[in-house]
């Protein structure tokens, strides 16, 4: 790698670049899926390549290749400069980056059980055992999945940075579909859309204990078919921890991305209501709402040692005591607003240019027990596990649906309800938060599929959450 780095850095500088960085990734992945008692697919993927990012004549350019040779390093660097010079034809001012300490470091990631050392037969066995547990009459689809990845990333820059990082990720989940011919109901464990992920070895899969939860979700999905419809109207809700992850993701994570705020995502996923005049003064939520961006949480999927600009991982507040106090930023956007860089620039692979991405965006734990959250409700709904999601391009009007709900009456959980949905305006919703469960109920959920950017990148992020209570929310709009 050293030879390609030197070749690319030299070539880019010679071609006129004022700043150059090069990032190479070698990655191995394994995906296993099961369906209805059989293995659906097993896939092993290996990939490697590098990308060169430059500033030349004040414009940005990026080029990449899967051919890892010094000659290709030179060609790609020259192409990146050619692209940057084309960018500079429309520039309004020269691209600038805030100062950041330059590091040389090597960060391996030790795990208890290397997932690639664990035999495939053992992985299949766990999924098929879980499948057997889900095999309850009335279930039409039983699915299970596991994903493992291991990568070695090298980052070097013309400023002298040289950082190597290892990243090992394990994830898994199970789900069922029940239908009576007219409608269908789904249930998942431990979370929907692929389950849960962490930067851990195979021990994470064992901790999940998929097999023990199969029967429970199968029976719940059958019961949902005959459950009563979720009530409609304005009422109190308690969101379970996995649904809180989605709530934070869409209505806090994305709106606090400073590139989005500054209009750089306008043509794709939109901008943000969180304009720069609101920093430090805007009442985002109630006084008990504290939200952090923390890339330092050990094993969290949104964590790392250094981001893809070589900035060391940090923990910062986005919302403190209900007030909006910080953005997710990059060296360029931090320079634009004269902010301290907090290290949120990442790319999903070697062939993509880094953009601002969520790290681990967390609702800090509160002081209530789960029972205390429920006790304070006269009439409301407890909702769990995301089923559908939609939010406008300014991140204001959202509507989310969950797989399951339970009506709450007079401080007690009552019968199961189906098709729960709730809707709101982001900051009005967070201002209605009056209870957050304590750290005993807190879990960091791995979200492996956050889409953003053009070309689209799929990023691994995470959210630390505990169940939380919200007052007077519009519930139940399903036709």
């Amino acid at each position: 790698m050293q030879e390609i780095v030197e070749s690319a850095l030299f070539a880019a500088k010679r071609a006129g670049a004022s700043y150059v960085d090069i990032r190479s990734i070698q990655r191995e992945e394994e995906d296993i899926t099961t369906k209805n008692g059989a293995v659906d697919a097993i896939k092993h993927t290996g990939s490697k390549g590098f990308g060169v990012r430059v500033i030349a004549n004040g414009g940005w350019g990026f080029s990449s290749s899967f051919i890892a040779t010094p000659e290709e390093g030179e060609r790609v660097a020259n192409e990146a400069v050619q692209i940057a010079l084309a960018s500079s034809k429309t520039k309004l001012e020269d691209a600038k980056m805030s100062d950041s300490k330059v590091y040389q470091d090597r960060v391996p990631q030790p795990v208890k059980i290397d997932p690639f050392e664990m035999p495939i037969t053992k992985k299949i066995m766990i999924l098929l055992e879980a499948d057997k547990a889900m095999n309850v009459q009335g279930i039409v689809v039983r699915k299970g999945s596991m994903h493992f990845s291991k990568e070695w990333k090298t980052f070097a820059s013309s400023e002298g940075a040289y950082i190597e990082q290892e990243r090992i990720v394990s994830g898994a989940g199970i789900s069922v579909v029940a239908t009576d011919g007219k409608e269908m109901q789904v249930r998942s464990y431990p979370n929907s859309f692929g389950g849960d992920y962490q930067r851990k070895g195979f021990e994470f899969i064992e901790e999940m204990d998929l097999v023990s939860h199969g029967k429970e979700i199968a029976e719940q999905s059958i019961k949902l078919l005959s459950a009563k419809q979720c009530p409609s109207g304005t009422m109190d809700i308690v969101l379970g921890s996995p649904q809180m992850a989605l709530q934070i993701h869409e209505s806090v994570g994305h709106p606090t991305e400073l590139d989005r705020v500054l209009g750089e995502e306008a043509s794709f996923a939109g901008t943000s209501f969180l304009t720069t005049d609101k920093l430090g003064t805007f009442k985002y939520g109630s006084d008990i709402v504290n939200i952090t961006a923390d890339a330092t949480i050990p094993r969290a999927l949104g964590g790392f040692a250094y981001d893809d600009e070589g900035v060391k991982a940090k923990r910062v507040y986005l919302v403190k005591n209900g007030i909006f106090v910080g953005y997710l930023n990059s060296r360029e956007t931090a320079a634009k607003l004269d902010l301290e860089v907090m290290g949120a620039m990442r790319a999903d692979n070697w062939n993509k240019m880094p953009i601002i991405r969520m790290t681990s965006i967390n609702l800090e734990p509160g002081d209530k027990t789960f029972d205390e959250l429920i006790k304070g409700i006269d009439h409301g709904v407890l909702m769990g596990t995301n089923k559908s999601w939609s939010i406008d391009q300014n991140r204001l009007n959202f509507q989310f649906g969950t797989e399951i709900g339970w009506e709450i009456k007079n401080g007690k959980i009552q019968e199961m309800v189906k098709n729960p949905t709730y809707t709101g305006i982001t900051y009005e919703f967070w201002r209605k938060c009056d209870g957050i469960a304590n750290k005993d109920f807190w879990h960091v959920w791995g979200v492996p599929n956050c889409g953003k950017g053009e070309p689209v990148q799929v990023m691994q992020v995470s959210h630390g959450t505990a169940p939380a209570r919200f007052r007077d929310i519009q519930v139940g709009v399903l036709k």
């Binding site: 899926t33 059989a38 293995v39 659906d40 697919a41 097993i42 092993h44 290996g46 990939s47 490697k48 390549g49 414009g59 940005w60 350019g61 990026f62 080029s63 990449s64 290749s65 899967f66 790609v76 050619q82 692209i83 010079l85 084309a86 960018s87 034809k89 429309t90 309004l92 035999p119 495939i120 039409v140 689809v141 579909v177 239908t179 007219k182 409608e183 500054l262 209009g263 750089e264 995502e265 306008a266 043509s267 939109g270 901008t271 062939n351 953009i355 559908s388 999601w389 939609s390 939010i391 406008d392 391009q393 204001l396 009007n397 098709n419 949905t421 070309p455 709009v477 399903l478 036709k479």
Partner: protein
């Protein structure tokens, strides 16, 4: 681009190295470039080369696959070895019968050299023209100009051998004012066919006319959907209902409905990878030539798409709609085409007493896929139509609609249609639809 001869040599080498009962090799090479702009300048300008060599083997009914992004000798040996090792450690897939068998059909390239060789300077020039207009108006220009060249080849030990090249160029413009936004996009295999002036005109005009929108109450409205908005709806329908997997998993509203009238008589929709009205590969990722598959013929449900596995399971033939295997989303309609009608956008507007003109939907997601219920927001241009005329811009609204019901409520379709390309290609007309349900509003 590596070229047909070399790519097929690589695939033959893969097959010759494999000791499995059946072996399939899929090669995809890509050179992709994207010039992104925002805030009236180019802020993201990227490109590069990548490839993937995917090997799938079957030992009896045990199937394994491995992928690598290299075609060096060592990489090829390793990827074949990995696929076989995985298959050996697999359990039998009782649904598996065989990989695809050869079929005769002439391949067809959707490939234009000018697109494959497009330079960053060319893209910057087009973008500059958009930005000079937005700056002159005091608006903000954003969007992307993308040019991609792809070569795809599939071969297997049963005698399938296919190679094709494809180019796609897409120019998208989103124009922002202080209180509004406007949208336009166009995709073509030929970069020189992109109608730059039309894109500028549409996106700027919509942004200009939708300034200072008013708020209206949610409810049922007659709507005119542009091809962008309609493509969003029917594109969603394609993955939640119009494929064998959705049928097999009990998810599709078409279960038990084939042969019955399920949408309006004026709705005819099909998938056709060989149509000139789409952007397509001529075969799927198993090497099966794409067949025309009718979904709705004058409102009557006719069928869904299949890949090899789902076809064998039901004693049918693959329709050529496999994604790269293994895939939990396959089979998939990649070339959805909705027939137009006799009307025009202008005529439709003149027929609306009170309704909404929707330029685009955003963040549509299924709420109840079995019943085709989805939700989403309007975006980049929403207007009130009163007594046959667009009267004022409206603040964005949330809709919840049953797609099948909406397709039953189609009053008129335009002759004019547009190809909307985003991974898959959807060709759609303008549509006038009654009783479209909006359930919420927002502040902008």
């Amino acid at each position: 681009m590596i070229g047909k001869e070399r790519v097929l040599d690589i695939l033959e080498n893969v097959i010759s190295l494999s000791s499995a009962d059946q072996t399939e090799a899929l090669f995809m090479g890509e050179e992709s470039y994207l010039t992104g702009f925002a805030n009236n300048y180019i802020h993201r300008n990227v490109g590069g080369k990548d490839c993937s060599l995917s090997v799938r083997v079957a030992i009896g009914k045990k199937v394994g696959s491995a992928i690598v992004n290299s075609f060096s000798k060592d990489a090829i040996k390793k990827v074949v070895r990995n696929a076989i090792l995985i298959a050996k450690n697999q359990r039998e897939n009782l649904d598996f019968v065989s990989f695809a068998k050869p079929e005769k059909r002439k391949d067809k390239d959707f490939f234009v050299e000018a697109t494959a060789n497009c330079t960053p300077e060319f893209r910057a020039e087009y973008v500059s023209k958009i930005l000079s207009k937005t700056k002159a108006k005091g608006f903000i220009g954003s969007g992307k100009f993308e040019t991609n060249a792809l070569e795809v080849a599939v071969a297997n030990s049963l005698g399938v051998e296919r190679y094709t090249k494809l180019t796609v160029s897409t120019l998208k413009s989103v124009v922002l004012t202080d209180t509004s936004s406007g949208y336009s996009e166009y995709s073509s295999v030929d970069v020189n066919e992109i109608p730059l002036n039309d894109i500028i005109r549409e996106s700027v005009e919509i942004a200009e006319k939708s300034q200072t929108p008013v708020s209206i109450e949610p409810g049922k409205y007659e709507v005119i959907l542009t091809p962008y908005a309609l493509a969003d709806l029917i594109g969603s329908l394609s993955y939640i209902a119009l494929n064998a997997r959705a049928m097999n998993e009990g998810m599709s509203f078409l279960i038990g409905q084939i042969g019955k009238k399920v949408v309006g008589e004026n709705v005819t929709m099909y998938d056709d990878g060989f149509s000139q009205e789409t952007i397509s590969l001529p075969f799927d990722f198993e090497g099966v030539p794409k067949k025309k598959v009718m979904f709705f013929d004058k409102g009557v449900a006719k069928g869904v798409v299949y890949d090899t596995l789902s076809a064998y399971k039901e004693g049918k033939k693959s329709t050529g709609h496999s994604l790269p295997q293994p895939s939990q989303y396959s089979p998939y309609p990649m070339n959805l085409i909705m027939e137009g009608g006799e009307s025009s956008k202008e005529k439709m507007i003149s027929h609306v007493k009170k309704g909404l003109y929707v330029q685009r939907f955003w963040y549509t997601n299924p709420m109840d896929p079995r019943n085709t219920v989805i939700t989403g927001m309007t975006r980049d241009g929403l207007f009130l139509i009163e007594n046959g005329k667009i009267t004022k811009p409206v603040k964005n609204m949330r809709f919840i609609e049953n797609i099948a019901t909406a397709l039953n409520n189609v009053l008129e379709l335009s002759k004019e249609r547009k190809i909307i390309y985003d991974m898959a290609s959807v060709t759609a007309p303008y549509a006038r639809i009654k009783d479209f349900t909006f359930t919420g509003k927002t502040e902008f």
